[in-house]
């Protein structure tokens, strides 16, 4: 909400002083005048009527045309001396004659805009009184959208520095911000430098998402899905089999017994694609006229960065404004021998087959990796300290765990690794806190990520850092040092998602160099976890909704369903999808949506827009479903948790 001072200032700036001149017996004059007067009663701070009533038509025309020639004065406003600019005003001869002015005086020199006659005045009044769009956060009409009020950072177009904007980090957020800023005319440079992981892995331009995150993850998840389809589905659809082979098993088709999977081919093709993206981003920056420096940056002061290139040569770069978009890195496992573990930084380019794997952690990174490694046929165990997917909807997290267990992923719950040792064969023996131990080819640590701020020199520039996660707190993406900004994973409180960083980066660039005041909207961001049973969600989890609004104010609709394509495969007999809507009981507004099933990301995207528009549950229910799909299950939700009725879906 804007401060009182700002509100008063904006009100004063937008008060319209409407002048209506005419003669008293003229009906049109009286009509225009009374409409403006009524608006003035309704919105006294935004509109004021100044009436110029002449006793007769002659007196009016004497003033307008023949004597004072007021209309010519108005027609010449804003033009070079003596020239008539506004022909409409110059030729207006009827009553009334209406205009906007900067004050209540009756001089032509105060005129800011010529409105016209009665019809023009009424049109102007209609548009003045039209309802403005209601802001997505439900802000009341007239209160205006929330503005991003940033602290002035002293940027001036004639500053003496090398760059208008220096971006630290060439990932999703940094690249988006740099390209947007450059397109708005700013002189921009991006510093991107990948410090090798403890296991020695490095990668090119593009950040976490492109190199060791979303992109390779989704490709490998797809590999697992393909395996699952080939084994569990294809044979039952007649693909890759003949009646003869089916006959051997009581005339029924059976799952394909595919054991072979080439890690080498998967890794190579995934990495080739990633390298292609690295190349594309380099070309992209060049085309958008953003300078790319493959150097590590450290702050020396609020306008200077010391750079180090891969050969160790140092230099300096100066900037008016700096954007920190360095993202995060995996937290290492701290037990003795923890350095034997790899992380998500390494798994997607692992130069040997992962073999038998232990995934330490219950984050989505751990579960997604465990999921695809299991899906491509590797022996996978997950060591969980307490609960799965902390921060996500509890019911959905448990369903994901149950699905993974049924797929053969082993879970060791309530444990952490206490020791890791290299064996004579070069494998890793892991001892857990419950005393048990086992030998693995690979240990993947995914216990959390921290901001990559340790060697940024932030203390030299007075930027505060949250000691718990090494991330940088900010307001409207501005840090405690006004000309240093932050977006993406390294910003404290920012959802660790590529599209969020991209949007925040573009929106910040528009505010810094495009005169925009719109803040980034972090609410109702839809997201998907690509575990073997995919999970898509937007808005509140059931747990958060209950704790924030109270059980008596929340209604939960839920349903289990079997995707049509799974009905033909006997091995999928126990698999089910699930969807849930968390609804505000009194306003019917949807607080959160949850979906477990195939193609969760595709299913969820459209609902993201619906949530942005503040959809009600009835809106979802009134939407005609697309049949046969799994997404349509949302449109036929009807059973509430409170009713205790069976949530399994019925037939067509």
């Amino acid at each position: 909400m804007a401060s009182p001072a700002a509100a008063a200032a904006s009100a004063a700036a937008t008060k319209s002083v409407v002048h209506v001149a005419g003669y008293t017996s003229c009906g049109f004059f009286r009509r225009a005048s009374s409409v403006v007067a009524s608006l003035g009663l309704l919105f006294p701070h935004r509109i004021q009527l100044v009436e110029h009533a002449f006793p007769s038509r002659e007196a009016y025309r004497e003033w307008l045309i023949h004597g004072t020639n007021f209309r010519e004065g108005v027609a010449k406003v804003g033009t070079k001396e003596g020239k008539v600019g506004n022909l409409r005003a110059a030729n207006h001869a009827s009553s009334p004659f209406c205009w906007l002015a900067s004050g209540t005086g009756d001089g032509a020199e105060d005129v800011t805009e010529f409105i016209g006659g009665c019809d023009d005045a009424l049109d102007w009044c209609r548009s003045f009184a039209s309802p403005k769009a209601v802001a997505p956060n439900g802000a009341e009409e007239g209160k205006g959208e929330e503005e991003a009020t940033m602290v002035p950072d002293g940027h001036a177009p004639d500053h003496p520095y090398d760059y208008d904007l220096l971006v630290l980090g060439g990932g999703s957020g940094g690249l988006a911000a740099s390209k947007e800023a450059s397109s708005l005319g700013a002189r921009v440079a991006v510093l991107d430098y990948v410090k090798p992981s403890p296991a020695g892995t490095k990668w090119g331009l593009g950040g976490t998402c492109v190199n060791v995150g979303c992109i390779p993850k989704k490709l490998m998840h797809h590999a697992a899905q393909l395996s699952e389809h080939a084994k569990l589905d294809a044979p039952h659809y007649g693909v890759g089999v003949s009646e003869k082979t089916a006959e051997e098993w009581m005339g029924m088709s059976r799952d394909a017994d595919i054991k072979e999977h080439s890690w080498d081919i998967l890794r190579q093709n995934v990495q080739n694609h990633v390298r292609g993206l690295n190349f594309k981003y380099r070309v992209d920056l060049r085309e958008k006229e953003v300078t790319y420096l493959n150097q590590l940056g450290t702050f020396l002061d609020a306008h200077t960065i010391e750079t180090t290139d891969k050969k160790g040569h140092k230099g300096t770069v100066t900037f008016s404004r700096c954007l920190v978009a360095v993202g995060g890195r995996p937290a290492p496992i701290s037990c003795p021998g923890g350095e034997l573990a790899i992380s998500s930084d390494d798994v997607f380019s692992l130069d040997r087959d992962p073999g038998k794997v232990l995934c330490v952690g219950a984050s989505y990174i751990s579960l997604e990796c465990a999921g695809f490694l299991n899906g491509i046929g590797r022996d996978v165990t997950v060591a969980v300290r307490s609960i799965l997917l902390r921060g996500f909807d509890r019911e959905c997290a448990d369903l994901i765990g149950a699905y993974m267990k049924s797929e053969g992923v082993k879970f060791r719950e309530g444990v952490v690794p206490t020791k890791m040792e290299k064996t004579a064969e070069g494998k890793i023996e892991v001892t857990l806190s419950d005393g048990s131990s086992d030998v693995y080819d690979t240990v993947l640590g995914a216990i959390g990520r921290t901001g990559d701020t340790a060697r940024l020199g932030l203390s030299n520039v007075g930027v505060a850092v949250n000691p718990k996660n090494a991330k940088i707190p900010a307001k409207f993406e501005q840090t405690s040092t006004p000309n240093v900004y932050v977006i993406g994973d390294v910003m404290d409180g920012c959802p660790e998602l590529t599209p969020v960083a991209i949007h925040a980066g573009k929106s910040l660039a528009r505010r810094l160099f495009g005169g925009s005041t719109r803040p980034m909207d972090y609410r109702n961001v839809c997201t998907t976890v690509f575990t073997p049973l995919e999970y898509g969600t937007v808005g509140y989890s059931e747990d958060d909704a209950l704790s924030e609004f109270g059980k008596e104010n929340v209604e939960v609709y839920h349903k289990y369903f079997v995707p049509l394509e799974w009905s033909v495969s006997p091995s999928r007999a126990e698999h089910r999808g699930f969807c849930k809507a968390v609804v505000d009981k009194h306003t019917n507004k949807v607080l959160g949506l949850h979906y477990l099933g195939p193609n969760a990301g595709e299913v969820m995207q459209g609902f993201g827009t619906a949530m942005k528009l503040g959809c009600a549950f009835d809106d979802v229910r009134d939407t005609v479903g697309i049949h046969p799909t799994t997404a349509e299950e949302f449109t036929t939700l009807s059973v509430t948790k409170a009713s205790g009725e069976d949530a399994a879906a019925g037939g067509c």
């Binding site: 990495q271 080739n272 694609h273 390298r275 292609g276 190349f279 380099r282 070309v283 060049r286 085309e287």
Partner: protein
């Protein structure tokens, strides 16, 4: 070092300047008065690998009339960027430090051969043999 395409690998900016652009400061006779076909490629690029045999065959066809070089955009990104390469494979045919022909993408042997013919003809180097 011979690259997969059969051409000599260019591994430094200096080498590019000397062998492709033709260093104007080096004493005459200049290193090569022949046109130089430069293949810009990278190991991870599928279409580049498909282009290798095409370049090899063209190299054989024009063995006395054409120099062939290869540059990895991973190793020399700045050389590639300055040469205006925005996608790979890209073949630039240079003569006297100037680009005479540009072929973007993987092409068939006869297409590449025609392009080389065109350059040689423009330079008056297309012989009467064959």
């Amino acid at each position: 070092m011979v690259a997969k395409s059969g051409g000599k690998m260019i591994v430094s900016t200096d080498q590019f300047r000397d062998e492709v652009l033709g260093d104007p400061s080096s004493p005459p006779p200049s290193p090569s008065s022949l046109p130089v076909l430069v293949l810009f490629s990278a190991p991870w690029c599928g279409p580049c690998r498909l282009t290798n045999p095409v370049v090899k065959e063209v190299m054989k066809l024009y063995s006395s009339k054409l120099e062939v070089r290869e540059i990895s955009t991973d190793d020399l990104p700045d050389v590639a960027a300055r040469a205006g390469v925005t996608s790979i494979p890209t073949i630039l045919i240079y003569h006297d430090g100037k680009v005479r022909e540009t072929i973007v993408g993987c092409v068939a042997k006869n297409v590449l051969a025609r392009a080389v013919d065109k350059v040689l003809e423009d330079l008056g180097m297309l012989g009467d043999d064959e």
